[in-house]
């Protein structure tokens, strides 16, 4: 017998889901067409802040193809004008009293076809009385600022919350004793995940059965089902949420949006299925944005470059409704992991959330609950320190990175990092980059007056939310179920609660079963995205699928395997305790010829074999996995840029990314995830931003104005890997979906700032557009979150 490979199921493998997508046979929400289906369209507010005086829907209702017009007043009569947000606030479904951001939903038209619905929204006449606007978060708490949320009892200002983490006194002490203290204000501007498929829904209320079926672009179908039950009062067992193929999520499809609720109401009112799909402007203007953190960070260090502490005060722009999507106890998400990858004595952060006249959201776009902001902050601070001390930024990082023997490591704000060998990863990246040669090339170019920059970012992520003791969303603990059925012929069906938006779950999760059960991945069908067909779980975001549901899958497969052991014992007339497992077979210890395969066991478990104690029949199993901790993937990124000083244009020449996400189930898919995130980093660092003018007008409401990177801005990514398993994950795996989005922006910005060193530049806010870079060189950068004047 040949030696069994260490992994039976893991390894690069073409994706099962590709077969339908390459033929154009995916089923996305807008591909769904039901008999008698009606089409919804939303009328949005042109004002950022205005009182609604009247809404006249007469002309729209008279349109021959219009079936219904729903306004805030109609919803109010049903008790549905407002809905709870994921952060304990309420959000208007359709505005009744005021509109609070440009693009806010005011009325919903239902018509026989999409074009007529669009025509009819033009026929609605709304009278507004414009109010003063808060479009700059930094003025939200001014005394003269208008109170945006006067719907809330007793509100006299735009303050949402103050939150802190770490030890303030200890941090003050460390800073007081430091040789070097550096401070920098930095903005992580408002951006949008902008998946190419916008958000949408088909809602179908069957009045006879009382069952509501919803096909929606949701990353969290089970959570949506519960929330729909809570919002509409429909019984939860009469709600089925189906998340079909999803054209990218990136956190944009976690929340519940007014259009969804309106479509459900519309189906109830008309008795027909109602489809609503956002157009691109609606997507960019109304659904969950990301970031918008105004940070003042400081770093303290010794003269010889030992980091002692960091601290930050942050103003968080949450928009008009506090609807950030993160675990309930963490109003600033996981931002307090901002000590990054470094050993330090103390840290402290304070975050103040404020209302502004902008769309709600804040936690989205592959941010791992705000670790994006945290990594950006600390990696900029480290580079500032390197510049101040005139030491190489790679060297400074190596000096301060956590050492392997420090793990598990509890950081100054209380996170327990599970595992890491950071220096090895950074050294690999430096080697791949040819770092010393790059620095030499840079020096030569500088001597010729050319601008070249090399930027490093070393990030630590905290993903896989999470332990239910600490983490819930609206009271729903963040544990995931999994069910595994093994059919008589040994083919398996795995049912998982997480939902793919492109991550390749149908392949990766089959590989986990293959690995654990010793059957080919092709013999495993993965069912996901249908609440009637899958166990409860919190969904796919925050890089949690592999850490939580991947673990659940491993655990449930092991349960099946153990059950198979009992059956095999009966089949082999041996004590199950004397059996050994190897690559899909149980055999009597010491006698490899004696075994039975999982396929034989499955047939026997369904057959007439007298089953042993503890096996009722079949091999099927279920589990719920409650992760003991988050997983802490990390990586070292190096970006090389050229900057044209005459035009301010940045071009990314190279990007080296070494990720350590523990054990890689499908390395091909892991690399694909990293590629996408690196492109995000280029986009955010160089072009993506949603700015607002003084009237609260959204200045990035289409793909002409909100720029996403193309094939021309992205270099050919150079990837490397180290593997440091997570000690607490059953497979040793960590999440990776967001690593590159989290880690890469800082590398790009550090590279550009490095390029501009000859001009004495210390910092520049994203996005580093040609105009912004040129102005930075001139010493007069502009606010990237406001209108350029």
């Amino acid at each position: 017998m040949t030696e069994t490979p260490q992994h039976h199921g893991f390894g690069s493998m073409r994706r099962k889901e590709d077969a339908r997508f390459i033929r154009g046979r995916g089923t996305f929400v807008d591909d769904i067409k039901l008999p008698g289906m009606l089409h919804g369209a939303i009328l949005h507010s042109p004002h950022a802040h205005a009182r609604i005086l009247s809404v006249d829907t007469g002309a729209a209702e008279a349109h021959p193809k219009v079936k219904a017009v729903i306004t805030g007043e109609v919803l109010a009569a049903m008790g549905l004008a407002w809905m709870p947000t994921l952060s304990g606030d309420v959000q208007a479904v359709l505005a009744t009293d005021k509109v609070r951001f440009q693009g806010q939903e005011v009325a919903f038209v239902i018509a026989e076809d999409h074009y007529s619905a669009r025509d009819a929204i033009e026929l609605i006449n709304v009278e507004y009385d414009a109010l003063p606007v808060v479009s700059d978060a930094r003025t939200a708490m001014d005394e003269e600022a208008p109170v945006i949320r006067d719907d809330l009892e007793g509100r006299t200002d735009n303050h949402i919350f103050d939150w802190e983490a770490g030890d303030r006194a200890r941090t003050d002490e460390v800073f007081a004793g430091a040789d070097v203290v550096l401070s920098q204000d930095m903005l992580y501007p408002r951006v949008h995940p902008a998946p190419l498929e916008t958000c949408g829904i088909v809602a179908d209320m069957d009045k006879v059965t009382g069952k509501l079926t919803v096909w929606a672009t949701t990353q969290a179908p089970h959570a949506h089902r519960t929330l729909y039950a809570l919002v509409t009062g429909l019984p939860e067992h009469k709600i089925r949420v189906i998340s079909p193929d999803i054209g990218g999520g990136f956190g944009n499809k976690v929340g519940i949006y007014p259009g969804y609720v309106c479509s459900i109401v519309g189906s109830i009112v008309t008795g027909k299925p109602v489809k609503w799909m956002e157009d691109r402007s609606e997507n960019l203007m109304t659904t969950s944005f990301a970031r918008d953190y105004h940070m003042s960070g400081s770093i303290a260090a010794t003269r010889d470059g030992k980091v002692l502490g960091v601290r930050v005060t942050t103003l968080a722009d949450h928009g008009a409704f506090n609807g950030t999507a993160q675990p309930t106890k963490f109003p600033a998400g996981f931002f307090h992991v901002f000590t990054g990858s470094y050993d330090m004595q103390a840290a402290h952060c304070e975050v103040t959330g404020v209302y502004t006249n902008k769309a709600p959201g804040g936690v989205a776009y592959a941010c791992s609950f705000r670790i994006t902001e945290a990594v950006y902050l600390v990696e900029r601070l480290i580079d500032l320190l390197a510049a101040e001390l005139d030491v190489d930024p790679a060297e400074l990082r190596l000096k301060n990175l956590l050492q392997p023997e420090q793990f598990p490591y509890t950081c100054a704000t209380g996170w327990e990092y599970d595992s890491g060998d950071y220096a090895t990863t950074l050294r690999l990246a430096l080697d791949m980059a040819g770092y010393d040669a790059l620095r030499k090339e840079q020096a030569e170019k500088r001597a010729r007056g050319e601008l070249m920059g090399i930027g490093i970012s070393f990030f630590t992520e905290a993903v896989g939310a999470g332990p239910r003791k600490h983490m819930d969303i609206m009271g729903l603990g963040m544990a995931d179920g999994a069910e595994l059925r093994v059919h008589p012929t040994g083919k398996a069906v795995l049912r998982i609660s997480v939902q793919s938006q492109g991550q390749g779950h149908e392949t990766t999760f089959a590989q986990i079963v293959a690995e654990e059960l010793g059957i080919p991945a092709d013999d495993v069908e993965v069912v996901h995205g249908d609440t009637d067909q899958t166990p409860f779980g919190l969904g796919t975001y925050g890089s949690r699928s592999t850490p939580v549901s991947g673990a659940a899958t491993a655990v449930v497969t092991r349960k099946v395997r153990e059950r198979a052991r009992l059956v095999a014992g009966a089949m082999l007339e041996a004590d199950p305790g004397d059996l050994e497992w190897d690559a899909g077979r149980w055999f009597v210890r010491g006698d490899r010829t004696s075994g039975v395969t999982i396929q034989q066991i499955a047939m026997a478990a369904h057959g007439d074999l007298e089953l042993p104690e503890g096996v009722e029949g079949h091999l099927d199993a279920t589990t719920v996995y409650n992760p003991p901790n988050l997983t802490f993937p990390y990586g070292a990124y190096i970006c090389v840029v050229d900057v044209d000083a005459g035009t301010g244009k940045v071009s990314v020449q190279r990007f080296i990314a070494v990720d350590d996400c523990g054990v890689r189930i499908n390395p091909m898919i892991v690399e694909g995830q990293v590629h996408g995130g690196l492109a995000d980093g280029i986009g955010m660092a160089l072009m993506q931003v949603m700015a607002f003018d003084e009237q609260g007008n959204h200045l990035g409401a289409s793909f002409m104005d909100y720029l996403l990177p193309t094939s021309m801005e992205c270099p050919s990514w150079e990837l490397g890997a180290t593997v440091t398993p997570s000690p607490h994950h059953p497979l040793g795996a960590k999440g990776v979906g967001e690593s590159a989005t989290v880690g890469s922006p800082a590398a790009v910005v550090n590279a550009v700032v490095d390029a501009l060193k000859p001009y004495g530049v210390r910092h520049a806010d994203m996005p580093l557009t040609p105009a912004n870079v040129w102005r930075t060189i001139q010493g007069s950068p502009f606010r990237t979150d406001l209108a350029i004047t």
Binding site: H114, R280, A691, T710, E713, P770, A771
Partner: protein, 288 residues
């Protein structure tokens, strides 16, 4: 997805039919070719013509050729065709350089040269290129045709001299020996509209500038032309110093406005920088 409101649609087979349809439908009718400027405006409901007259079948307007001492470009020529045209590139490399940075390959497969000029977007690239090479536009109407210098073609943002009942049919570019051309553009990303762009056509007489055309887009230059810089350069040495000064003059005389692409001072700087660069490269080419 946003969709247009209702309109009538007619398809014309030849220029005569276009003119007849324009006469029939009156001023609220619009000619559509590639539709890549007009249809997005209609989807966003910023434009709502009563009727569209589709000229995609008017194949008589689709040609690039040299006749006598002029390069003739029919208005139905797709951007991709101008980009790939050896004859256009031979005489005016500026067209290939400008086309390469106009939108993207798919848009260029459909969008037309005439459509871009008629849209008259203040950031449109070919307006600057045609202005630089001193093209003229042929406009047909019921009475016959008239020829308008490109430098008099634009009346204002999104407005041209093409009147009701008229059809833009051709561009004519005079070919003169001893010259060459170049185009320089800065966008925030591939496919972006210009933050600023400059096109230069230059003819040398020994070491001196015999004649020069400088087109500017997206910076509020009157008629897309840097006239003062042209004036300055004529007869001067074709060297870096002159080109740098021409850039300064071009920057000084343009009138950019601030938007999210950049502030006024940046765009003004860019107008000068790109003018200088385009001149330098055009002159290099003219010398070889």
């Amino acid at each position: 997805m946003q969709v247009p409101s209702h309109f009538e649609y007619e398809r014309a087979a030849d220029v005569e039919q276009v003119l007849a349809l324009l006469a029939r439908y009156g001023p609220e009718a619009r000619v559509v070719a590639g539709g890549h400027s007009l249809l997005p405006m209609m989807k966003l409901r910023l434009a709502a013509p009563d009727a569209l007259i589709d000229i995609n079948d008017v194949s008589e307007l689709s040609y690039i050729r040299v006749e006598r001492d002029e390069l003739l470009i029919g208005t139905l020529v797709r951007h991709a065709e101008l980009l790939d045209s050896p004859v256009a590139a031979e005489h005016f490399p500026i067209f290939r350089e400008a086309e390469r940075v106009i939108a993207d390959p798919l848009v260029r497969n459909r969008g037309t040269v005439g459509g871009s000029l008629c849209q008259a977007d203040p950031s449109e690239d070919l307006s600057a290129a045609f202005a630089a090479v001193r093209a003229s536009a042929v406009i047909r109407n019921a009475e016959g045709s008239r020829t308008v210098p490109l430098r008099e073609f634009h009346v204002g943002p999104y407005e041209t001299v093409v009147g009701d009942g008229e059809l833009l049919t051709e561009f004519r570019v005079p070919i003169k020996p001893g010259g060459s051309s170049a185009y320089e553009k800065v966008g925030r990303r591939a496919g972006d509209w210009a933050l600023a762009a400059a096109g230069a056509a230059i003819w040398l007489d020994g070491g001196n500038v015999a004649d020069v055309g400088i087109g500017l887009t997206a910076v509020g230059a009157a008629h897309f032309v840097a006239a003062e810089a042209e004036e300055y350069l004529r007869g001067r040495p074709a060297d870096d110093e002159s080109f740098a000064q021409a850039g300064r003059i071009a920057a000084e005389h343009c009138r950019p406005t601030a938007d999210q692409r950049g502030p006024v001072d940046y765009k003004r700087h860019l107008a000068g920088e790109l003018t200088t660069r385009a001149l330098r490269r055009a002159a290099e080419r003219a010398r070889t």
